[in-house]
């Protein structure tokens, strides 16, 4: 039974305590390869010890990345993306900067790249930059979390475990991109209010509770089902999602062809979100 496996993981986790960073043992299914993976799973009867080994041998096979095409983006598209994302994840719209929750949002060039702001770059200045969690390769938020509620998965996604989060907000202080939001109030209160005005919930996705931190999760729940992230689905011409570790992936191909910016590279966090300019 899986409980035994949990115990094993606990022991394994404890024995590798000294190692920094949460190196979880599981590889995410690739989009469109769900079925093949399912078969593979079958051989192991739900046990994933093998996957761990495989990864050690060859290094990470997956590192998800998001490319945002600043040439394709428009104000309307940006708004659509934000709307889609927040509805897909039942993010309430507090309409109040104090309590707001933002998974993805619009921001001006000046605030997106404050340290490398080039005031003569008038093209960029007018563009609606979309900000989201950068799913850094070296995430400071995961480093500071005292309970590993936020952690970097082997596929590069910086995940947030709402069930474990104690709400200390250390990650918010640590995130150099301001990507994290805290549920200052019970999100359901607001959602109910909005629902009364006609908002629909995404019934496949839970809500959060007050007192935990949340952020963009690269639609990990959709990836698991073999789908693209919601934002990509909303505007496939603006948002490009793919595997950075795979040289032949769509994103690598685009990056080879276009000039891209990443935020605050000098901090060494290695963001996985690229702005194509």
């Amino acid at each position: 039974m899986s409980m035994d496996r949990r115990k094993f993981l606990k022991v394994a986790g404890l024995s590798t305590l000294i190692g920094l960073g949460g190196s979880s043992a599981f590889e995410l299914l690739k989009p469109g390869k769900v079925d093949a993976e399912m078969e593979h799973e079958g051989h192991h009867g739900g046990h994933h010890g093998k996957a761990h080994k495989k990864e050690e041998d060859t290094g990470p096979k997956t590192r998800w990345a998001m490319l945002i095409d600043m040439k394709a983006i428009t104000k309307e598209k940006a708004e659509k993306i934000v709307h889609t994302c927040h509805h897909a994840h039942n993010v309430p719209n507090w309409g109040d900067p104090k309590n707001e929750i933002k998974w993805i949002w619009e921001e001006e060039y000046e605030h997106v790249f404050p340290d490398s702001y080039n005031e003569y770059d008038e093209i960029l200045e007018k563009l609606p930059f979309l900000l989201m969690c950068n799913h850094c390769d070296e995430p400071p938020c995961a480093r500071v979390c005292p309970v590993e509620a936020t952690f970097r998965r082997p596929d590069g996604i910086v995940a947030q475990d709402y069930h474990r989060c104690i709400g200390c907000r250390f990650c918010m202080a640590a995130c150099p991109y301001g990507s994290r939001s805290f549920n200052w109030l019970d999100p359901r209160v607001k959602l109910k209010e909005e629902m009364a005005k006609g908002r629909k919930l995404n019934k496949r996705f839970p809500t959060r509770m007050r007192g935990v931190v949340e952020k963009c999760n690269f639609c990990v729940e959709r990836l698991a089902e073999g789908k693209q992230p919601a934002c990509v689905e909303a505007c496939p011409d603006v948002m490009h999602f793919g595997n950075l570790a795979d040289e032949n992936s769509n994103v690598r191909k685009i990056l080879r062809a276009r000039i891209s910016l990443r935020r605050k590279l000098e901090l060494g966090t290695k963001p996985s979100v690229f702005y194509l300019v």
């Binding site: 039974m1 899986s2 409980m3 949990r6 993981l9 979880s24 043992a25 599981f26 590889e27 995410l28 299914l29 399912m38 799973e41 079958g42 009867g45 739900g46 994933h48 952690f151 998965r153 596929d155 995940a159 475990d161 709402y162 069930h163 359901r188 959602l191 109910k192 629902m195 919930l201 019934k203 496949r204 996705f205 839970p206 809500t207 959060r208 509770m209 990990v220 698991a224 089902e225």
Partner: protein, 132 residues
């Protein structure tokens, strides 16, 4: 000095405290809840079987769900292979609640009976209900 009055009062209080459950229930047993399995999804099932056997599910579902939660969220593992070798998609809201689309008559019944308030529902909800 006997203080028999005080002793009798004391004994009455003692008896009152210890007989409280009997008095409170005044001979009327509460009905043992029978969680309803009467949902379209279950009806449509060829074999009415949960992920694991019923006794296991009754006694251990909390631990089981907790384990699922960690697998899905932390380990990124979305597939569970049950004892019979069948694969099940790990999701409270999208797997469990698909069959048990009657939270009120299924989950809540026993939980209320046993005065258990699981914190599952702080985030999860009945996708079939109209309310959060």
């Amino acid at each position: 000095m006997y203080d028999s009055g005080k002793v009798i009062i004391g004994l009455l209080i003692f008896a009152g405290i210890f007989l409280f459950p009997f008095v409170y229930q005044h001979g009327a047993p509460a009905e043992k809840p029978k969680p309803s399995l009467d949902t379209p999804a279950i009806k449509a099932l060829p074999v009415k079987k949960c992920v694991e056997d019923t006794h296991f599910m009754i006694t251990t579902h909390m631990q089981f769900l907790n384990d699922w939660r960690d697998q899905a969220l932390r380990d990124g593992n979305r597939w569970y292979v049950n004892k019979a070798g069948k694969k099940v998609w790990i999701s409270l809201q999208n797997t469990c609640m698909k069959c048990h689309s009657n939270k009120k008559d299924f989950c809540d019944k026993c939980h209320n009976y046993a005065a258990v308030q699981p914190y599952c529902w702080d985030c999860h909800y009945d996708p079939n209900g109209s309310k959060l």
